[in-house]
């Protein structure tokens, strides 16, 4: 039987959770492939490997459909970061996070990092469009991040737009305010039994993004990657201590797992 386990071993796992249609797959496409493309509702789950410096990060895209709900715990097992995603134009999608998805994260690492992400910001927020100026540079309108988002290829946005309504025809009502998100984030911490003061500040871990325009997408992923680095290092350290040695990772040859002979 062939050894199926030989794959680029991810060092750490990041999982996207959230109701169907909130744009999890679109966010991942935007980040990995730098474009916004048509999606179909995800079946089961999918994952991407992202090279981050010397590390491999696996990013799991889960299915939001109720049918696949039962798989969530398994995807979250051993996750170092979970991205809880909702749709800013849909209040219910935020409620679902608390009702359906939060409990799935029980299997995640004890030091798992949580990010709360309101996607489709382009539908409610003119700034998200304005940031797409002619030379394609995205300025972060909140001013909170120095990071620069990648140059965007925008389909048909004239610059500068005369009024917010000219972006996409209509601006939807924003159903989820930033305060709603911040207070949910605090409830999440409470659910996790985490101390607000010693945890990452809600302000830093609540994002509003647009997979469509790319707004804040790189910032989201890269902030998380930087935050999980200690987790990677700890995991590597533990592996070194443990009696089973991953010979492949350390560049050796031979069997994948050598049972230690002394016990």
């Amino acid at each position: 039987m062939p050894d199926l386990s030989k794959m680029k071993k991810p060092d750490v796992k990041v999982v996207l959770l959230g109701d169907m249609n909130v744009g999890k797959t679109s966010l991942l496409h935007r980040y990995m492939e730098r474009k916004f493309k048509d999606t179909v509702s995800t079946v089961g789950g999918a994952f991407f490997l992202k090279q981050w410096g010397p590390y491999n990060i696996s990013i799991w895209d889960t299915a939001g459909r109720e049918q696949f709900h039962g798989l969530g715990s398994m995807y979250c097992r051993g996750a170092a970061a979970v991205i809880l995603t909702y749709d800013v134009t849909n209040w219910q999608s935020l409620a679902e996070i608390e009702e359906r998805f939060l409990s799935l994260t029980d299997t995640a690492n004890h030091d798992c990092i949580y990010a709360l992400v309101g996607n489709k910001a382009d539908l409610t927020d003119p700034k998200v469009h304005l940031s797409q100026d002619a030379d394609g540079q995205t300025k972060d309108p909140t001013g909170g991040d120095e990071e620069r988002t990648e140059p965007q290829v925008l389909s048909a946005v004239p610059t500068p737009p005369a009024s917010p309504t000219s972006f996409s025809g209509l601006v939807l009502h924003k159903q989820v305010t930033r305060d709603d998100a911040l207070s949910l984030y605090e409830r999440i911490l409470r659910y996790k039994g985490l101390d607000e003061k010693s945890s990452l500040p809600a302000d830093k871990m609540c994002f509003e993004t647009s997979a469509k325009t790319g707004y804040n997408v790189d910032v989201l992923f890269e902030t998380l990657f930087d935050l999980v680095l200690p987790s990677i290092l700890r995991k590597r350290h533990e592996n070194r201590e443990s009696p089973t040695v991953d010979l492949e990772d350390s560049g050796g040859v031979g069997s994948k797992r050598a049972r230690s002979s002394c016990c």
Partner: protein
């Protein structure tokens, strides 16, 4: 032989049905209905087991059939199976045979029938009596599984997990040749209904969920929920500590022993009844189809129609299926063929994923060759679609021999190239025209791509061994596309094949470039001939409008003197003043055997203008201090002046400039043979100034001044003459010259002379008034005629009187000061003679502030003791003293 026909028909119908264009597997019949149950309609296959060549089939009428299965490869490479029936045996329980597992080391089959597990002999199919008497039996069993990753080291023992119908437990048994032994019994939270075993890990389907249970430690890990009422669970061990499970929504989920999914799930239909892995594919069986997904990208790759499917199982890597009536083998097509199929359909990404996924199954060196080839093919597919970025990336990774690409472009490879395209071909294109189908825009894009691509690879190891081909192709493209980099290529180290490029560059009128190429090939003479033809208008190439200057520059820099002698002539004829740069702008070669000035001078002999510039260069820039060369230059200047003089009408402006040059040179150089030059113009009345200068050089100042004053009557020149002729001499010499001039003025004007001489008198007066300081006033007064009015000489006399007064008074003051100083000292000395002077080691010297080490001291006025050497120093530096020594010069 009937059977062979059947096979063909069958696979034909499957091909039609298969909807995917990848063909990863072929379904090949192994045991057909005839051989099993003939026309007995109610007999169905329930389970199969295959072990080497031995195939066992369990049926619903409680029979086990034993076949010998042989693989037959036809001459065309087609694989078929021929089955030979060895035995069949009724087990006597009237119930279907639910499960069969071979334990080949024990030569036993483990059978599950009617809820009972028991052993039969693999050869005789006889039930095995227990060592303790009676049969080996485990009752109330719903399912069992064999541990393929046993924890017990005994090869003659098989580990088995058993589920029983009544209890919520899993039992682990050791199976020996003639007995079974219960080693562990673990409780489960719910009734288990399917099990798989790997090491200590039991993977279980319970009533409402899947879980992993370590029967050694008792540790349990929930996986995910499902509904056993709704669907039949699948728990399939696929590799060490990894399982494949049927999940809600028709998913095939992967889970490892830690309860983590490391691969993305595949999407099956809801009715899947069995699954197996044949890397890199997941094969699943449902009511009507066999579906094949790739584990690499989760995509559905192939679907085969299959009715009444009963069993899908892999045996030592061989995937077998059974319908209710017949047994089949799912034969994987060779990986290479699958990849080629994908490529043939332009499914490049999938082909590459499959290739990379196949890495583990292929020896490393073989894989590398395969991988490279696939990348190259992929590159050409992308190239054909004009997706150049991707193409280039594939070419780069696949280490493509660039000549494969170049050879697509007609005529680019040099005739001398030994290249032949690889076989089998990497692509389907005959050449670029075939690829572009006459679309010139496409052709152009392809050419532009090749230009960038070759530009990038030519300096990398990709071009090793074929630099000539690469550079030649690049040169041709540059020339054809009128590309700027043509000259850069030729200016750099290149390997363009000359013979091949000549006609090409000529065709595109790139003569300048061709010349450069000749130069690269050491044929400078050919290069020059070609360029000269361009400059002379015989050939057209507007690459450089300054080609003439370029040639001059080229000759100037070449170390090949033969070339210089050969082509300088042409350059000088074309433009002597620029042509002479060949000689004047030559970089200083360290090599002494370089051009000698004498050779150049004699070479230039016929060409006056060039010669003049050259000699001028030697004298003025090289500062060569040789009499001959200076004389030569003087002669050349002179000849130029003479020739201008001889023309009529004379170009005054040119003449003035020429004379100025001559005069300046005559004045400033002191190396030329003045007598010789003078000889040439001794009686030339037009070059008086020059003659005067020459006389001056010969120190014949009388004659010189005579000419200037009497012949030329140019008094300011005469004055100037005195200045330069004495410029590097002392003041006495200068005075002498001025007196001489004064003498000439005065001698020429006897007191009672006419108008002409009063002019000389005026000159004499002016001279005195202007340069009074040079003259010795007493002498002058003696020389002057008595009749001159005082008024006339007033400025001169004023200055003379004041100067003499000044000198007199200055010396009187100095005298007075010295006198008073003397008195003061005398006074002090008298005073100090009476007083003791204290000298101690604690008190320092007033001048240098060091202590005294000996009693000898000097007293300053006021009785201050100082060192003897300090006072000596002070006297030396004293400003008074300085002033006194300088005062004689002061006016």
């Amino acid at each position: 032989m009937n059977c062979v026909v059947d096979v063909c028909l069958f696979s034909f119908s499957l091909d039609v049905l298969s909807e995917m264009s990848v063909k990863a597997f072929e379904l090949v019949p192994a045991v057909e209905r005839d051989l099993l149950m003939g026309d007995k309609a109610r007999i169905n296959i329930e389970c199969i087991e295959c072990c080497g060549k031995h195939l066992y089939v369990g049926t619903n009428d409680c029979f086990i059939h034993h076949f010998l299965l042989d693989e037959v490869t036809s001459s065309k490479g087609k694989l078929t199976y021929s089955a030979q029936k060895l035995l069949h045996k009724y087990l006597g329980l009237k119930k279907p045979v639910a499960e069969l597992r071979a334990a080949s080391a024990l030569e036993r089959l483990i059978v599950l029938c009617d809820g009972i597990v028991f052993l039969v002999d693999m050869v005789t199919l006889e039930s095995v009596p227990s060592a303790a008497g009676g049969g080996v039996r485990i009752r109330g069993v719903t399912a069992f599984c064999i541990n393929e990753n046993p924890v017990n080291g005994d090869p003659f023992c098989v580990e088995m997990g058993v589920l029983s119908s009544k209890r919520r437990t899993v039992q682990v048994y050791m199976v020996f040749e003639d007995r079974v032994q219960l080693v562990k019994e673990v409780n489960t939270p719910e009734q288990p209904c399917a099990v798989s075993l790997d090491g200590y890990f039991l993977c279980l389907a319970l009533t409402t969920q899947y879980m992993i249970l370590n029967y050694n430690t008792g540790a349990a890990q929930d996986l995910f929920p499902y509904d056993s009422e709704e669907k039949r669970p699948i728990v399939k061990r696929i590799s060490r500590e990894e399982f494949l499970l049927a999940a809600p929504g028709g998913l095939g989920m992967f889970a490892n022993a830690e309860g983590v999914s490391q691969r993305a799930p595949v999407s099956w239909s809801e009715s899947v009844i069995a699954a197996a892995v044949c890397f890199p594919y997941v094969v699943a069986l449902d009511e009507n189809f066999i579906t094949i997904h790739s584990m690499l990208d989760q995509q559905l790759k192939q679907t085969l129609s299959f009715r009444d499917g009963q069993v899908l199982q892999d045996f030592e890597g061989k995937v077998m299926l059974a319908s209710t009536k017949a047994v089949y083998v799912l034969v994987p097509l060779p990986m290479e063929r699958q990849i080629q199929d994908l490529l043939a359909n332009h499914r490049v990404e999938e082909a590459l994923i499959l290739t990379e996924g196949a890495q583990r199954n292929i020896p490393k060196d073989k894989f590398q060759i395969l991988h490279r080839r696939i990348l190259q093919q992929a590159g050409f597919i992308k190239f054909g679609q004009l997706q150049f970025l991707e193409a280039q990336e594939h070419f780069r990774k696949g280490q493509l021999d660039v000549r494969e690409l170049i050879s697509l472009y007609p005529l680019l490879l040099p005739v001398s190239s030994t290249f032949t395209r690889c076989h089998p071909p990497l692509h389907e294109f005959a050449d670029l025209n075939h690829l572009a189908q006459g679309d010139q825009e496409k052709v152009l894009q392809c050419k532009k791509f090749l230009i960038t691509y070759l530009g990038e690879v030519r300096s990398t190891e990709v071009a090793n061994g074929c630099r000539e081909d690469v550079d030649t192709a690049l040169l041709k493209l540059y020339a054809e596309q009128n590309h700027n980099s043509l000259l850069d290529l030729l200016a750099s180290d290149n390997a363009c094949v000359l013979a091949d490029c000549i006609p090409w560059l000529e065709k595109y009128h790139k003569y300048f470039a061709l010349g450069l190429l000749y130069h690269c090939n050491g044929q400078d003479s050919a290069a020059l001939q070609l360029w000269i033809r361009v400059v002379d208008g015989e050939l057209q190439d507007c690459t450089r409008s300054d080609l003439y200057e370029y040639i001059v520059d080229f000759l100037c820099c070449t170390s090949n003197l033969d070339l210089v002698w050969k082509y300088a002539d042409w350059a000088l004829r074309k433009d002597p003043s620029k042509g002479v740069h060949i000689f004047t702008k030559r970089p200083a070669f360290t090599d002494q055997s370089d051009l000698s000035p004498d050779d150049v001078i004699s070479y230039l002999g016929k060409n006056q203008q060039a010669l003049l510039l050259y000699v001028e260069h030697l004298v003025l820039e090289k500062r060569i201090q040789k009499e001959m060369i200076h004389t030569n230059l003087a002669v050349l200047y002179l000849e130029r002046v003479l020739s201008l003089l001889s023309k009529s009408p004379t170009d005054e402006e040119q003449l003035t400039r020429a004379r100025e040059k001559l005069q300046a040179f005559l004045r400033e150089s002191s190396l030329y043979r003045a007598r010789f030059i003078l000889g040439k113009i001794d009686n030339c009345e037009k070059l008086l100034l020059e003659r005067a200068t020459l006389h001056g050089k010969l120190e014949e100042h009388d004659t010189a001044l005579h000419i200037l004053v009497h012949k030329l009557r140019d008094f300011s020149s005469a004055e100037a003459f005195c200045m330069w002729a004495s410029s590097s001499r002392d003041s006495a010499y200068q005075r002498q010259l001025f007196h001489l001039l004064l003498g000439v003025y005065l001698d020429g004007s006897p007191p009672a002379a006419g108008a002409g001489s009063s002019e000389l008198q005026m000159a004499a007066v002016d001279l005195l008034n202007r340069h009074g300081e040079v003259f010795d006033a007493v002498c002058v007064l003696r020389m002057l005629p008595d009749g001159w009015s005082l008024q006339l000489l007033r400025p001169f006399l004023n200055r003379a009187v004041r100067a003499s007064m000044h000198a007199c008074r200055t010396s009187q003051i100095a005298l007075g000061l010295a006198h008073s100083e003397n008195l003061q000292l005398l006074h002090d000395r008298l005073k100090e003679v009476r007083k003791p002077i204290f000298v101690s080691e604690k008190k320092g010297c007033h001048l240098c502030h060091n202590t005294f080490s000996e009693p000898n001291v000097v007293c300053l006025p006021g009785g201050v003791p100082v060192h003897t050497h300090c006072v000596a120093q002070r006297v030396r530096d004293s400003p008074t003293k300085k002033r006194l020594t300088n005062s004689s010069n002061h006016t």
